[in-house]
């Protein structure tokens, strides 16, 4: 009798187990998808994120202002030929720009927003060359002598030409350099090896000093020893600020946001912003035409694209 009871019990237990298993597997097979999760709209999320009350504001402010005492050391390191690399948790954008505004007044400063998706480094180098040229002219007025007047405009020169100009050892004014401030040198637009090589070459020029920040824990893997020791020549500065990454994350799509129309508009605007001014104007003309003729439903755009390609190929062949 007892044995029967035990058997019955065991049978009940195993039946329940298999029932539960079955139920579990049937639940797994349900047609629910990840995309069905009701995610909040991006606009709304951004709004909520913007309204998050920042904590320890006073302490963060105090911490950031405490770095001001190091400005003179940083400037000294820069003038000794090092490049500054800021690391540590928190946005370092405000801190770096404050340092540049207060301490680097004698030098021209170009800011590169590495957190954006695409950056044209050639344009940056052209700007640096133009600024150095201006700085040299300014220096020349105070001293005697004259710069060579027959100067080819910088925007038509090749990259290696520009870098040679920035690296010229025989310029008369020796301690004359321009500064380049790179926020997030490990950002998405600069993460590829070509950009890093280019940045390393810029940093190694004798008339350029670089101040950069990193936020990714593996950022140093972007560089080999040649770049680290002979080109960038980093002077590491640990400057945690605990400030929110408000600006840096603005151009990044939220992972938890709904991929609705708002986001595609955002993405399109990021792409448009990364284009050259000429290309932006072309797209503006197309968009205006499209808005003026809503009945054509993109016909114009198609014909325009094919014309554009044809024209491009003709130009290239010639």
């Amino acid at each position: 009798m007892d044995v029967d009871e035990i058997d019955e019990e065991e049978f009940g237990f195993s039946r329940n187990y298999f029932l539960a298993k079955e139920l579990g597997s049937s639940r797994k097979k349900s047609a629910r998808k990840l995309s069905e999760i009701d995610l909040v709209d991006e606009e709304e999320l951004r709004q909520v994120a913007a309204n998050i009350e920042p904590k320890h504001e006073k302490e963060v402010k105090h911490l950031i202002s405490s770095y001001e005492s190091s400005y003179s050391n940083w400037l000294f390191a820069l003038r000794c030929g090092f490049a500054l690399l800021m690391y540590g948790f928190g946005s370092k954008k405000a801190l770096m720009e404050d340092f540049a505004t207060k301490s680097l007044t004698e030098y021209s400063v170009v800011v590169v927003n590495g957190y954006l998706q695409s950056i044209n480094l050639k344009q940056v180098v052209i700007t640096l060359a133009e600024l150095l040229w201006d700085q040299l002219k300014l220096g020349r007025k105070t001293t005697s002598g004259s710069l060579c007047k027959s100067q080819q405009p910088f925007n038509t020169r090749s990259m290696s030409d520009l870098l040679t100009f920035l690296d010229k050892p025989d310029l008369e004014v020796e301690d004359c350099f321009v500064c380049i401030l790179v926020h997030n040198i490990d950002g998405p637009g600069l993460r590829d090896s070509d950009s890093q090589q280019c940045l390393a070459r810029i940093a190694s020029c004798s008339h350029v000093r670089m101040v950069a920040s990193i936020d990714h824990v593996n950022a140093p893997l972007l560089w080999d020893k040649k770049m680290v020791h002979t080109q960038f020549d980093w002077y590491w500065c640990h400057v945690p600020t605990f400030a929110p990454y408000k600006v840096e994350t603005k151009f990044f799509p939220f992972i938890l946001a709904h991929g609705g129309s708002a986001q595609s508009v955002k993405t399109a605007s990021i792409v448009l912003q990364s284009l050259t001014p000429n290309a932006q104007n072309v797209f503006k003309v197309v968009a205006e035409h499209q808005l003026a003729h809503p009945d054509e439903e993109g016909k114009f755009f198609h014909t325009w694209v094919s014309h554009f390609y044809l024209h491009f190929h003709v130009c290239r062949r010639n």
């Binding site: 390191a77 090092f82 007044t105 170009v110 695409s118 344009q123 700085q135 090749s158 020791h229 990364s274």
Partner: protein
């Protein structure tokens, strides 16, 4: 949507934050390349507050001191490579002569076609190649070596192009490396690169008496297929344009076989050359910069330990060591307000002069700071010096400090000379010499010796001290085993090193004269006495004499480190 200018800047890939306000006067002082020959002039003619005065002083000192150190390091590296460079230079000349001897009379009209005109077909398509073994997996140390090699060959009448593995990337293809190669020789940017351009350049200007040398810094990092193609292409032209290849190899003799295709290997006629190892270079740099006081400052034990560990266990490159040294100088200047004195110390070289004039120009505040320093206090206590604290006494203090440092350096170098026979690294000796614990223990040991109370030291204590000063003790112990010839050689080098210090120098001279008289005695004995018994006794005596000289030398070395 309304966008503020600020937001616009945030979304711009780049923007100009501000332009240079004015060309600064203080910045003009900094000139990394050429140090200005200026005395420390900080007399209060210019109304500057003390902060900006200090800023200006350190800005003036850094380029001056660093350029000295840097050029010193470059000289050291150049001299360490000099033998290999000479050897390579000779080989280049010989290879060029071989190419010239096998090529027939040159016909400029046909010189832009690849296939060579050859008299005896033996050397067709063979490319003379030097494999330079760097003994260092990190190519970063050899960038300078190969550029120096290039300059050296240029000065000996070769056309030289330095190409790195970056030019051999598959993305740019063979055109990329060819462009880099031609750009350096022809000095123009070429869109469509072709070797025939080089051939016409070579024949146009009648450059037949000079070889063309291509230096590839890091062979292993190049794309194998691309490098093979490049070698094949060069070999086709190797007689018409006498191209000679020099390739840096970081790993082993198998490297070319691993990188190149077997076909490309057949085109090569290789010779091997070996550079000095990073440890040897490191020792040479330490000697030249830190021990021989070129830097004007000494690094502390903690910094030296860090540098050594970083070099041996992590990075292994001389480049990072040099960088760390530069950083140390920046730190020193930033933290220590008196460090501008470095300029005077470095300025000296061999011609010593009084610094009084320079020091007298300094503001009183700065001089007073110097008297607060522990080194000056020790000096004045030792001397019972209660003289007035002014520039004159600071001048005396500084000269005394330098005298002591010179003494310390000469003794360290004596130990290093002794350690050379057993390949002891100077870095290790340097580190032990800097260790304050060892210094204190030696002092107390010395005290115990005097008090004849050695039993006070426990055995474990002694063992600990022995282990701590392992390298130094080892070097001293091994002096006993040195053969007489080497010992006299060692004494001779010691004599040179301790020339400035009277007591040690005298002892060395005494030892030397003892050894010489021993030699003379034994020589005479040999001449007068030929019997077997006497020779045996005489040998025993000689060994005994040698032992006592070795012991004396050992004791002397032991005394020097106290």
């Amino acid at each position: 949507m309304y966008v503020t200018a600020f937001e616009c800047l945030l979304s711009q890939p780049f923007f100009v934050l501000h332009k240079a306000s004015k060309s600064s006067e203080s910045s003009a002082v900094m000139s990394p390349g050429k140090p200005r020959k200026r005395r420390l002039d900080s007399s209060p003619k210019v109304s500057l507050n003390s902060e900006s005065l200090k800023e200006n002083l350190k800005m003036e000192v850094f380029p001056y001191v660093w350029s000295k150190i840097e050029s010193n390091i470059k000289d050291v590296l150049r001299s360490i490579n000099a033998d290999v460079f000479d050897e390579i230079g000779r080989w280049v000349r010989e290879s060029f002569n071989k190419i010239c001897s096998c090529r027939g009379p040159v016909d400029p009209s046909k010189s832009t076609l690849p296939y060579p005109f050859v008299q005896n077909g033996g050397l067709v398509k063979k490319l003379f190649t030097a494999l330079v073994f760097t003994k260092n997996i990190e190519t970063v140390d050899d960038i300078l070596t190969f550029s120096e090699l290039g300059l050296n060959l240029k000065s000996h009448g070769c056309y030289v192009a330095n190409i790195s593995s970056l030019d051999f990337s598959t993305k740019n293809g063979i055109g990329g490396c060819l462009r880099a190669f031609l750009r350096q020789l022809l000095m123009v940017d070429i869109e469509a690169a072709d070797v025939s351009l080089l051939a016409s350049w070579y024949s146009d200007h009648g450059k037949y008496e000079k070889p063309v040398v291509v230096i590839i810094e890091d062979m292993e990092r190049c794309s194998g297929a691309l490098l093979s193609d490049f070698i094949k292409m060069l070999s086709e032209w190797s007689v018409k344009i006498p191209i000679i290849l020099i390739a840096g190899v970081a790993t082993s003799t198998d490297a070319p076989a691993n990188v190149l295709t077997s076909r490309a290997l057949q085109y090569l006629s290789t010779s091997m050359f070996f550079l000095k190892s990073p440890a040897e270079r490191m020792d040479a740099i330490i000697e030249a910069v830190l021990v021989k006081n070129c830097a004007g400052f000494s690094v502390g034990h903690k910094v030296a330990t860090f540098l050594r560990n970083y070099f041996l266990r992590q990075d292994g490159t001389v480049t990072s060591f040099v960088r760390a040294l530069k950083m140390a100088l920046v730190q020193q200047l930033s933290i220590e307000p008196l460090s501008f004195v470095l300029k005077i110390l470095v300025d000296e070289g061999d011609n010593k002069r009084s610094w009084y004039e320079d020091l007298a120009n300094l503001p009183e505040e700065v001089i007073n700071h110097a008297f607060e320093l522990p080194s000056y206090r020790t000096y004045s206590v030792n001397r019972n010096n209660h003289a007035e604290l002014n520039a004159m006494s600071l001048d005396h203090g500084l000269s005394e400090l330098q005298r002591l440092q010179d003494l310390w350096r000469s003794r360290l170098m004596c130990l290093h000379e002794a350690g050379r026979y057993h390949k002891v690294a100077l870095l290790d000796l340097y580190l032990e010499a800097l260790d304050p614990e060892l210094y204190n223990s030696r002092l107390s040991n010395h005290g115990c010796d005097n008090a004849k109370d050695k039993s006070l030291l426990s055995d474990s204590d002694k063992l600990f001290r022995l282990q701590k000063a392992e390298v130094t003790n080892q070097v001293i112990r091994k002096i006993r085993d040195l053969p007489a010839a080497k010992l006299s050689q060692l004494l001779k080098s010691w004599e040179g090193l301790t020339r400035g210090t009277v007591e040690v120098h005298e002892k060395i001279m005494e030892l030397q004269s003892q050894m010489v008289s021993g030699d003379v005695k034994s020589h005479k004995a040999e001449l007068t006495d030929n019997s077997k018994r006497h020779i045996n006794r005489h040998r025993l005596n000689m060994e005994k004499d040698a032992c006592t000289s070795n012991d004396k030398a050992m004791t002397l070395a032991g005394q020097t480190i106290r």
